[in-house]
Amino acid sequence: MQAVVVNNEPLMEGIYRLTLEGRHGGKAGQFYMLRCWDSFPLLSRPISIHDLSEDSITFLYRVHGGGTELLSKLLPGNSLTLEGPYGNGFPSPQGRTALVGGGMGIAPLLLAAKEMPEADVYLGYSGEAFAESSFRSIRSSGGLTIISGGTILDSLEPHRYDTIMTCGPVPMMEELARRCAGSGASLYVSVEKRMACGIGACNGCAVETPSGIKKACVDGPVFPVEEVNFHDLALL
């Protein structure tokens, strides 16, 4: 499917917010496969839904390598190809809920925060914060904690929550898992794996779980922490 770029603004060095025209499906934690090139690079790039409206969809991404670099060159009016929404997305919140994002991992949490207005939101940035104003505008009456240049985990008391959902660097999520253990909170983790097809056809995005091999693209990217092997995740 083709869509036209409304906006592709740099929020800070190497971080862009891309908004496309049209009504697109999806829920928080799901992703699209994006490409704005013909045959090079080969694969499309999985990017989470950052925000959705009646007539637009927004992605938040970091320029990492060649593919995201090409995305960053898009101008308003250009068109690109997107396929999706793919993946399971975050589960419905059960009881008191926290959303915990680290770095680029905050991307899928904006839509999650919208879908779960009761959930507390914790955002951690190793450096300067970005896209935090979008979160402020939907949590103007509180429930938002932001830490720049430090760890967000120290601000969070897992036992205060029934459900915690997280997306961020593997070491951060692993530490969060340690802190949640025995706290009574159920933790859901959004994982990243290299993907070729995004639809369950290539077996490329295998995730090792106690109940066997699963696919990050269709069974995930969100998994209950019990299913996640952080050692396996660290090997992208």
Binding site: L42, L43, R194, A201, A206, G212, V218, D232
Partner: protein, 310 residues
């Protein structure tokens, strides 16, 4: 009227576009995107007698115009396939080719007899069944993945012979581009009574992770596919077509109608599309139409007209 009809041995295909093993699962993921009846055929993910969990660690690395994979034959096993997947596949009005993997002669033998039996049972029940078996002696990604069969003609002969003895289903042998002697392999397939040959499987390749100073893949090597390999695959298909009278299904980096016709011109009876599905998941929906258009433009009336002209 431009016609895309073609045959691979006794198997009639609506068009020459077959989806390649390991890139199309059992069709279901793509059936959500477009009706699979537009396809010439589907080759299933490689199946083994027992389910396999596949390889650990990184399974995919992109290269310049190529894709390396080290899936390691992850599959639900033949019983699961025959019980749960095959009926669903039979709903698609397209040829069903079962890709049979294995690591030992015994496994190939067992797998082939499971397929033979299932086909017989289905036939008795008046159900559609398995249109062709594609014997994969060329998976580079598992120690016991058949690669050792794929390299040596005489080792491969044993596998082909045993499978041929067991099944009278149309039998296509999928060759490895890493074989020591590709045309020798093709001759062997003909001698052993196979019905067709498909090639190429992936090229044995390597990628290094500079930071960890190790191979990117736990199995050290992985298989390269995609447009990068097309010129080599095309040459191999040409060589094999000229050396055998068996029908040949060509593949390796095909993504466009032009690519399809090039493979037909060097002699392929039909083609398979693998990595192309990842570049555009709707390739199967449009490619046959694009081939027709290109044939019209080039004033080609049928595939026979150009097959093997080079």
């Amino acid at each position: 009227m431009t016609s895309l009809c073609c045959k691979v041995g006794t198997l009639n295909l609506r068009n020459p576009i077959i989806m390649a093993s390991g890139t199309f699962a059992f069709g279901a993921p793509y059936a959500k995107l477009y009706p699979l009846d537009s396809l010439g055929g589907i080759s299933t993910k490689g199946l083994t007698v027992e389910p396999r969990t596949g390889n650990r660690g990184t399974r995919l690395i992109e290269t310049a115009s190529g894709l390396m994979n080290s899936i390691g034959l992850e599959n639900p096993g033949l019983s699961h396939f025959l019980q749960f997947e095959l009926d669903r596949m039979c709903q698609y009005d397209t040829a069903i080719i079962v890709n049979l993997g294995g690591g030992s002669l015994e496994e190939y033998e067992k797998g082939a007899s499971m397929l033979q039996q299932a086909a017989a049972t289905r036939a008795a029940e008046g159900k559609r069944g398995i249109d062709m078996v594609e014997l994969n002696i060329s998976c580079p990604n598992v120690k016991q993945g058949g690669m050792q069969f794929g390299l040596h003609t005489e080792k491969a002969r044993e596998a082909v012979r045993i499978v041929r003895r067991i099944t009278d289903l149309p039998l296509m042998i999928k060759l490895s581009p890493n074989a020591y002697d590709l045309t020798g392999m093709a001759a062997m397939c003909e001698e052993e009574g196979a019905d067709a040959i498909s090639l190429v499987n992936t090229f044995l390749a390597m990628s290094v992770d500079l930071k960890s100073r190790r191979s990117s893949f736990q199995q050290t090597y992985a298989g390269l596919s995609g447009p990068a390999i097309k010129p080599i695959a095309l040459r191999m298909v040409h060589q094999v077509c000229r050396s055998t009278s068996l029908p040949v299904v060509g593949m390796g980096g095909i993504t466009t109608a032009q690519d399809v016709l090039e493979f037909i011109m060097v002699g392929a009876s039909a083609v398979q599309i693998g990595t192309g599905n990842f570049m555009n998941p709707r390739t199967g929906a449009s490619l046959a139409g694009e081939v027709t258009q290109l044939m019209k433009k080039e004033r080609i009336e049928s595939l026979e007209e150009i097959r093997g002209v080079i």
